[in-house]
Amino acid sequence: MLLYRAQRCAAVLAIVALLGACSPAERRADLGSEQGVLHWGNASEPQSLDPHIANGVPEQKILSALFEGLVGKDPQTLAPIPAGASHWQVSDDGLRYRFFLRPQARWSNGDAVTAEDYRWAWWRALQPQLGNPFATLLFVIAGAQQYWQQQHGDFDQVGIRVLDRLTLEVELAHPSEHFLQLLDMPTLYPLHRASIERHGNPSARASRWTHPGNLVSNGPFRLRQWQINRRITVEKNPHYWEAQSVALNQIVFYPTENITTEERLFRAGQLHYSYDVPVDKLRYYQRYHPEQLSLAPYLGSYFYRFNTRRPELADARVRRALAMAIDRQLITEQVLRAGQLPAFAMTPPNTAGYYPPATAPQQLRFDPAAARALLAAAGYPNGEGLPSLEILYNTQEEHRKVAVAIQQMWKQHLNVDATLHNQEWKVYLDTERRGDYQIARASWIGDYVDARNFLEIWLCASDNNRTGWCDPEFDRILLEALPRANSTAQRHQLLQQAEQRLLDGLPLLPIYTYTSKHLIHPDLRGYSANLLNQPLFKRLWLQPHNELGDE
């Protein structure tokens, strides 16, 4: 019996020893503030750190710390600022850009960054074997699209010329205002050729050049450690041309998949920055810690696609009736409640100075009577005769709530029955692509700040259209008239014309414009929210707040 008791005690002790004794949890963020280590919630394990393979926002954040393009973006205004290039010249016709690289720019192994590094990287970006999802961004460059589609195998025909070690000239296919913005995107970062070729075929996906110890980068930070599903640590790059003004010593990126857990981590002092905020915590932070909550407009649109190939949705009046029967304000204020803006057009307002047609909010206003009249005119008085509609969405709580609300509004205001159908993400993508739906939830996040980026998905030939809607006039404006525009004002006017055609045709039901939501530790300084939700890590710093002992 004594023996038994001793066994039991031993077992308890063993478990305690294994698990580690209880102790007050340390606050990683406070320690980090003192040591200049930024703890950053980054949503998910990055797919890859290869700028030509990674396509998610979390990957983009890490890459922006590791690499630097020719031109950067001001973290507040998103205006172009010198980065890899100290300055540049644009020809009068807007077709030729000449970039002058910084002579002091270095790779993290000490090699000089040259114009050839950019050219080679862009060559690599256009290799189809890599499956680069953003290769199309390079199509603004003369000859790039033809090279990609393998109409010619000669990269020299693509308008990228190395004039000397530090001068790069780029010839565009047509004048593109957004070209400078593209230079800050991972697909256009320079790459260190020698270190990539050391790990095999440069256009093979399964290369190990992105692993710690192998990855050579030119940005303010370099890769230090990568523990799968745990953390990615980057440290200050001593060879960076502006290293002396980089304040942070390290940034640790955590794959915080579960936003509820992430919020708890933040509250327990383990993170300086959260990737997202759970909706029901917004009220709490707004009331008690407004200084820790960052809510800002985000360049993304949430909308529904109408499958115009379906007979019941082929009539634009039916689509308009459905669009006018939803109360967007009610959805944003009562269902979403995170400062989202009701949307009445595809493009978010003030996209680099562009506004959707001013009549849009009036056109798609919430007006049940007008909606009923439209539906009756289309042959469905009081919704009679209209087949039941199905809203397809990918399985997620927020989409479900919006869909339930819209379902109810249609029933109430139009007497139209709708059912909800959720599918797991990949299945939903497949269903949508095959056109096997009636109404599908969708969203589009801008790659760069330009209205064209939002409108071009509605081109007849776009793989992202998926609605069967095709308007030759819309295509003509975007593809022919727009490239010839010679002033911003004229450009915006053309874009508005195109967007008006889109809103007349209405293959989509605009719902709201996104907001970005983050929790920001009071020690984190230099952070400013912007439309692209893109921080400039080299300008961030940490100021320990408890130096005065205000704990």
């Binding site: 509820t260 029901d280 269902v335 339930v404 109810q408 959720n422 797991e424």
Partner: protein
């Protein structure tokens, strides 16, 4: 105990069960729950609005005559959703648990009783089913186009298809625990004197299994079934947590509980009600199971 001699074993068991006050109370509570759930349309009619009616101007309303338990984050009546959710959850739990246990008992009994080659084959089969990982299977099964499996378009797209899918999957994968329990017990029972005696007297295999082995197995099976009703209801909630459970707009306690997680600060009652109902159901099932176990046990003293 003189009167006991005139009573059948079933009557005796009933008598013993009636003596088990907790079990009796639990059975009553369960019956109440079932009745309430069956009467959901009646209550819907009495309240004058439907379970799926959204009222965004009346979100998270406190209890009132119109909404006895208040409303949820979309302004739907909580009580009605709980009742309809209960239908789904109880049905899933009961049907799936009983189906799984029946299958498991049959297979375990055959394996344990016949032993030898039959045992090997059946246990390898059990192992292979256990070895199939349930959750990724569910993800994949949720994705498969059911019309390709020969189901009619109408059935494949029915709202309740997620419900059937879960029942079928639980039944097809959940029987293994019972099968192993039953087999283990049968293996030792078949060597017991009374079985050997029955065999010596020339009783058929079917008779021995039914008469002599099965009754002795009832208590572990009942424990397993009662527990698994609860765990199926819980499994459904875990699946909901992963987005794979009963799919909206069909409500279940599991998906209500999951949806309420996001609102745990703002509206804890939305998590508490379904959580409490799951809890009560599982507890009652267990008490009833205990009661039955004592009642069926031939050696139990009254």
């Amino acid at each position: 105990m003189a009167s006991a001699t005139t009573k059948s074993p079933t009557q005796l068991a009933l008598q013993r069960f009636r003596g088990h006050r907790l079990a009796l109370a639990s059975a009553a509570l369960l019956a109440l729950l079932v009745t309430a759930v069956i009467c959901a349309p009646l209550i819907e009619w009495l309240l004058g609005h439907s379970a799926n009616q959204v009222d965004l101007y009346n979100r998270l309303a406190p209890p009132s005559w119109l909404h006895p338990l208040g409303t949820d984050e979309l302004g739907r009546d909580t009580l009605l959703r709980l009742l309809y959710g209960g239908r789904v959850s109880l049905l899933t739990g009961l049907v799936a648990a009983v189906a799984a246990a029946t299958l498991g008992t049959f297979i375990g009994l055959c394996a344990g009783y016949f032993s030898g080659r039959t045992d090997t084959v059946l246990m390898r089969f059990t192992d292979s089913v256990i070895a199939l990982p349930l959750l990724p299977l569910l993800i994949v099964l949720a994705a498969i186009d059911l019309t390709k499996l020969g189901l009619s378009e109408q059935l494949a797209n029915a709202e309740s298809v997620s419900l059937y899918r879960i029942i079928v999957i639980v039944a097809l994968t959940g029987w293994t625990t019972v099968a192993r329990l039953v087999r283990g017990a049968t293996l030792s029972l078949r060597e017991r004197e009374f079985v050997l005696a029955a065999r010596g007297l020339g009783a058929s295999h079917g008779l021995i299994m039914r008469r002599h082995i099965l009754p002795n197995l009832l208590s572990p099976i009942i424990v397993a079934v009662t527990l698994s009703i609860g765990s199926v209801i819980l499994l459904e909630s875990v699946l909901s947590f992963l987005g794979l459970g009963i799919q909206p707009p069909l409500a279940s306690w599991g998906n209500m509980l999951t949806n309420a997680q996001q609102l745990i600060w703002e509206a804890p009652q939305l998590a508490i009600y379904p959580g409490l109902l799951i809890f009560i159901t599982v507890i009652c099932c267990n008490f009833v199971g205990d009661g039955l176990q004592d009642a069926f046990d031939p050696k139990a003293e009254s």
